[in-house]
Symmetry: C2
Subunit: 302 residues, 2 copies
């Protein structure tokens, strides 16, 4: 009975403030960002991706990363992470007191060039330089984009994913997230890819980041759980999308995942009532935030 073998506890990493907000056209005021991230921290997440230390021209929405970090109510229970694209970003992240740096690379050469402006080999060289300068006490995670398909290249060979995992592991990166940036992964594909990665002997702490473009993200989480994954990214209100992945819609909505896991008696540490209040707070600022649970909860108010 596969569903009795599910993990009893999984971790939801809230990536909304970074991945969910980065492409929103209207700038969210820094004090509102701070208030929202502090509210999220009060919901019981163990980790939140707060912002990106990228060029303000590349992602204007996140140009206030340092200011947001300065306003956070720190707690030893919550890891505040940020995307760090290069050595310059790493220095800024260190100055801002970022707990964990998130490195990004794509399993698709074309997508890596479109999204990051460099080859996969160049990205790996950057990571090596960044690992050499990693401040003491700063944790690292690497996210691999387009593991499950690429709008430019189509299917991505599993061999390339396994090769990339080996390279990252060789750089000392032990926490890695496989991302379905386009949002096309089927549940059976998620299960197969995770098993293939495991079978290849990659001794890494694996997580999944699934976009809900085709409505399959929650089903993919269930498949990932059945394959033994215990860490999943999600974004409050299902916000997100990728400008370099045509047709890609938002992230899996945190509240849809958290409510489902709670109903399945899978522990996440998340306080659903607090999450619902934070969702209401987010919707005051970003009316586009929406999800199945948002509509369900709205319906139940009547």
């Amino acid at each position: 009975m596969p569903f009795s073998a599910l993990p009893r506890r999984v971790e939801i990493v809230e990536v909304g403030p970074r991945d969910g907000w980065q492409n929103l056209p209207d700038f969210i005021a820094t004090n509102r960002k701070i208030a929202l991230v502090n509210s999220l921290a009060g919901c019981g997440f163990r980790e939140i991706e707060v912002s990106s230390f990228v060029s303000p021209r590349a992602i204007p929405q996140l140009r206030d990363a340092a200011a947001v970090f300065a306003g956070l109510q720190r707690s030893p229970a919550v890891t505040f992470a940020a995307l760090v694209p290069n050595e310059r970003g790493l220095a800024q992240a260190a100055a801002a007191g970022v707990d964990k740096a998130v490195f990004f690379i794509s399993a698709s050469e074309t997508h890596n060039r479109e999204n990051l402006g460099r080859s996969i080999g160049e990205s790996l060289a950057d990571f090596a330089a960044m690992m050499a300068r990693l401040p003491a006490g700063m944790a690292v995670r690497a996210s691999i984009s387009n593991v499950f398909g690429c709008p430019f290249e189509g299917e991505v060979p599993i061999e390339r994913v396994i090769w990339l995992l080996g390279k990252l592991r060789g750089l000392g990166i032990e926490e890695i997230t496989l991302c379905d940036t386009w949002g096309v992964a089927t549940p059976s594909q998620v299960y197969r890819v995770v098993c293939q990665v495991r079978d290849a002997g990659a001794e890494v702490d694996l997580g999944l980041h699934l976009h809900d473009t085709c409505g399959r993200a929650l089903a993919g989480v269930m498949a990932g759980m059945q394959a033994g994954i215990r860490r999943f990214d999600a974004a409050l209100g299902g916000l997100g999308g990728c400008p370099f992945a045509p047709g890609a819609a938002g992230n899996l909505a945190t509240e849809d995942l958290a409510a489902c896991l709670a109903a399945m008696d899978v522990a996440t540490g998340i306080d659903l009532a607090a999450l619902r209040r934070t969702l209401d707070e987010l919707r005051q600022v970003v009316p586009a935030a929406a999800s199945h649970m948002a509509a369900f909860w709205d319906g139940c108010r009547h």
Copy 2:
């Protein structure tokens, strides 16, 4: 590896014209209904729920059930089904040439009374009378609502579902669909309920009808497939909802399910290109029709 044990073929029953349209506020002209159902028949569905032979006052949208059936291009490859609530409806369905009558009953006494205006016992007595008058050649399916939870009663005991299945089986009804009318079933619950029903020895042809209220319907289908279910209801454009189930949103969108199964190499017999054209046709008539695949396909047009 549970995902390698999935069925190689599953059947999607298109229930949009009945369950998806019944609560739409604007009447769809009969000739448009006929054109849409004929288009659906051309997509490769083996069965379509076309309409309901209920009181025109109860569901004004489906008051033209007989006229719609009169306009269908019949094919031996497609079963045209209709909801039949009582003996009068059965006589009308017989006159209209309905291939399969669908009986409805709820696993929740309160919901049965709210939705059907009678007790579960009275509904079973009606079914007995209808089975005694079933026209030669007309097939029957029973759908059990609220199997996975009820907005009025909360959790529905599995014993009541199994008892109801036994009663229906005793009436000679061999095809039964378990419905999550409220749309709250978790994947693990779907798996557990199907296994419990099977373990109870119910020798019936079981299907699942999952609403997407909480965004779990596709994950529920995957769980159902892992439990051996091979027949699933879905509605084009994700239309639907239940006026007697507060907060209940639409059905699982046929195109989301069909596209996911196609990507998993699970055969459904559905021509995705024809389905996409029919979805475009539906959206001309019902702008509210929407789904993840609708948005994805729209995005890919740019």
